[in-house]
Amino acid sequence: MSQTTVDATSGDWEGRYDHIDQVLNTAGPRTDPGFLAGDGVKDFLRNQAKILVIGAGGLGCEILANLALTGFKDIHVIDMDTIDISNLNRQFLFRPKDVGKPKATCAAEFIMNRVPGVKVTPYFGKIQDKDEEYYMQFNLVICGLDSVEARRWMSATLVNMVDPENPESLKPLIDGGTEGFKGQARVILPSITSCYECSLDMLNKPTAFPICTIANTPRLPEHCIEWASVLEWPKVQGDKKLDTDDPEHIGWLYQVASARAKEFKIEGVTWSLTQGVVKNIIPAIASTNAIIAGMSACCNEAFKIATSSAAYLNNYFMLIGTEGVYSYTFEHEKRDDCPVCGGESLDLTISKDLTVEQIIELLVERQDIQIKKPSLATPTSQIYLQAPPQLEQATRPNLSKKVSELVAEDGEVTVTSTSLPFSLSLRIHYN
């Protein structure tokens, strides 16, 4: 039995944070001027900071462990997946007996057992289940996701949450990703720096083959596999949805693809390739996740932002480990025409009697925005669309309606027009 005295409430023992405290007790030569060395920063880190980790997969496991050891005590984690056997080569909070269980719950339990005094609150579900009020409670959000769609949603949600009147509404987002020996991490300060949507065109898209090649001139084993999944599955299985996690479904595709390959004398269709093509599997190893989670993504940046102990990453870090070690950092620029964080927005106070037609005239006449033929919609319905003809007709009756009938006080209206780089958003108030 150890002789160490453990503090009953925090779970801390004497000397526990000696390593970390060395960098918190005094300011270094490159420390942010706002850094308040000593007890203040420790108190914030250990007693006040509340962090959200999105994804409890390869990156998520690493991030959670690092955050816990760094001294964050209140951590939440969201993940909608359950544990698969192929996760075990890197997701080190899970054991073979956990296969089939929710990742978020398992990861939270493991961390709480291993690192005393840390509270990890899991949510087994989708990020889209949660609203702004939920996200508002955190100081920082760290994403270790493999889905473009989920990242776009998270980034956009945090950008949308920024309220100019409330500094607390700005939640830094740290986003990491890996592929084999390569990885990247970035810091997004919503509405200040470039957001995920700004860099959408930088993404590698999954390889897609021409459908006519698949249908008629297959040359590669991949062509045979896509023939099975894109053309044969819907034809033979009808409305039954292809579940790429179901081994029976993969087995069926594998057999159909193999038969086709044989017919065309193409070599190389294997189970593994079939699964790789239909699931768009990206190779993943523990070490790369550890680098990205340790360095940038995640925790070091979280630590630096939360403690101001050093300058945070500005703003995009890339690592290539296939040939030696090569990394570089650059500032990804915010895009003016970004549909999420770019474009203009305007607070508009109008009379309750103003009609849609009048507000359009008002927009067209405004010198500062110079808009031509604007189309207007709220997040849930169309107000007036200039085209195509059917929608113009369908929304035309709205022109004579009062804006106040269609848009609530403090409601939002998206304006698009050929003369705008992307869109204009209006926030409507009534006098």
Partner: protein
């Protein structure tokens, strides 16, 4: 063992034809990188980690997960409250006072039931004292030493350097946000470097079957659909032959010639949208860039340290030489004969073509490639080498990108005024980090206190050759290290190093991908890494 039964129960409800076994499924995401050959190398590796610091256990974690064969932790210390606070592979206050080797080994071993492990509570000093200890150490494949005391590290490095067959040594040093690591090895050969470069299709020097077939095609009389599906390889081989007839047997060379050649390709189109002719135009450079032996490979042939059968070779090739050098030597002799090229690749890129013509072309390449591989096999026999077919195939497939790396002993940089002098580059950051960590380890060894910026700077000056100034970045780096204290093993730095070092270890063991050449330094304050050439 209950875990094994559980996993069977969960994952074998459905048995489906062709579905991979448990192990393949567990390692699926990494087998897509280094394949079964890399995995088998990992499974045969025995790793020794000296001391169970947070950084050491982070490195081991990333090696246990992908399934190394065995690891031993050598550590005589007991877990301190500080260790329990920063190391994920200790169980908080429950581990305090217990053997650090045993606790860490137990918790790391849980990560993968396929990995063997041992905790050893002896000290390195004790082991280095005895002959049996020194022999014991040499039985490992690779040794990782994190923040090892200078005297011991130097002794260990020298011991392992004496014999080229000794284990690889990976030296890792860190303090706060600063870190570096270095791999000590004599020689590292890589067949599968996963190079981005692709081998030549030899369109400029077509082999007979390819040339004959290309010339037998009658483009003008072809069915329009077939015409739009002739692989660009045939189009180019033919076009080049025709061109050479009217140009003294030479490919297009001047810019205007190249332009005319491309235009002649496009003029053969039946219809605007024949993509195969567009591809041929885009690939036209293949007709005038001469297929030869890449300069990197030629350099390997000339390397005096590579065993070779050449008459005046510094190191003669004997039947005992590693298979790699028999292959390399066979490759050299292959390239010294007509047509002075590397053996042909059997992998064809995808191109616009119908199935039949593509598969036919693929077969032409495969057949020729196999013939040339057989030539290499015979050449290997001539020098008495023994190479299995899988290695031979792999070598021939990667002949354009094989590599030989030669390393230096740890410590040579700091001992050599010339090397250090050359290493002072204008940016200076990698050198600053290296010097700061070297000076720190000197000072710690000499037990100088208090540890001040001045003391570290003075020590660094004595390491540098006379007259050389400390690099520009020095003040920041040394200040950082001093303030952020020399003994801080931060969890994030440990995690980062754990990933970085494990990646390099995997590259060394699998002999795939290319490991670092020199000292890899890192500054986590600026999210930065840089290489200091040794």
């Amino acid at each position: 063992m209950t875990d094994v039964q559980d996993i069977e129960a969960v994952t074998t409800q459905v048995k489906i034809d062709g579905q991979p076994d448990q192990k393949t499924r567990k390692y699926d995401r990494q087998l897509r990188l280094w394949a079964a050959s890399g995995q088998s190398a990992l499974e045969n590796a025995r790793i020794l980690a000296i001391s169970a610091t947070a950084t050491s256990t982070s490195i081991l974690k990333n090696l246990v997960l992908p399934g190394i064969g065995h690891f031993t932790i050598l550590d005589p210390q007991q877990v301190t409250p500080q260790d329990a606070g920063n190391n994920f592979f200790l169980e908080g206050q429950n581990s305090i006072g217990k053997s650090r080797a045993k606790e860490a080994t137990r918790l790391l071993a849980e990560l993968n039931e396929d990995v063997n492990s041992a905790a050893d509570e002896r000290s390195l000093e004790e082991i280095l004292e005895s002959e049996t200890g020194r022999e014991w150490i040499k039985e490992f494949t690779l040794i990782i030493a994190h923040n090892l005391e200078k005297g011991l590290l130097d002794r260990l490095a020298k011991l392992l350097w004496e014999d080229a067959k000794s284990p690889t040594l990976v030296v890792v040093r860190s303090a706060g946000f600063l870190a570096e690591f270095y791999i000590q090895f004599h020689e590292h050969t890589i067949i599968d470097s996963h190079s981005d470069s692709t081998p030549s299709l030899r369109i400029d020097k077509p082999f007979p079957a390819l040339l004959d077939y290309a010339l037998s095609l009658d483009f003008d009389k072809m069915d329009p659909t077939d015409h739009g599906h002739v692989p660009y390889v045939y189009i180019l081989v033919r076009a080049l032959e025709e061109w050479k007839k009217t140009h003294d047997g030479k490919p297009p060379q001047a810019y205007s010639d190249k332009k005319a050649f491309k235009a002649s390709i496009l003029s053969k189109k039946f219809k605007q949208d024949e993509e195969n002719f567009d591809e041929a135009e885009a690939q036209a450079y293949r007709t005038w860039s001469v297929t030869g032996v890449p300069s990197e490979i030629q350099a390997l042939f000339k390397d005096p340290l590579s065993p070779s059968s050449a008459a005046n070779a510094a190191t003669p090739l004997t039947p005992d030489s590693p298979p790699f050098f028999h292959l390399l030597d066979a490759l050299r002799r292959f390239t010294e004969k007509e047509p002075f090229v590397l053996p042909l690749t059997s992998t064809l890129p995808d191109m616009k073509a119908n199935t039949e013509s593509y598969i036919h072309l693929q077969k032409l390449y495969k057949k020729r490639s196999e013939e040339e591989r057989d030539v290499i096999r015979e050449l290997v026999k001539e020098t008495g080498g023994e190479v299995d077919d899988a290695t031979l195939d792999l070598f021939v497939r990667n002949a354009h990108a094989v590599k030989v790396m030669r390393g230096k002993r740890w410590g040579v940089l700091d001992e050599s005024e010339e090397a250090l002098g050359n290493a002072v580059d204008p940016s200076g950051k990698p050198l600053s980090i290296h010097l700061a960590l070297s000076a720190l380890s000197e000072i710690t060894a000499k037990q100088i206190s208090p540890l001040t910026v001045e003391a570290v700077t003075k020590e660094a000056q004595t390491i540098l050759p006379k007259g050389k100034e400390l690099p520009e970045d020095w003040d920041n780096i040394v200040g950082e290290m001093h303030v952020f204290s020399p003994t801080a093993d931060l969890p994030n730095t440990a995690a980062f190093l754990g990933g970085m070092v494990a990646q390099e270890v995997i590259k060394m063991i699998t002999r795939q991908y290319i490991p670092i050449d020199g000292y890899c330094t890192a500054d986590l304050i600026e999210t930065w890494t840089g290489i200091l050439l040794a």
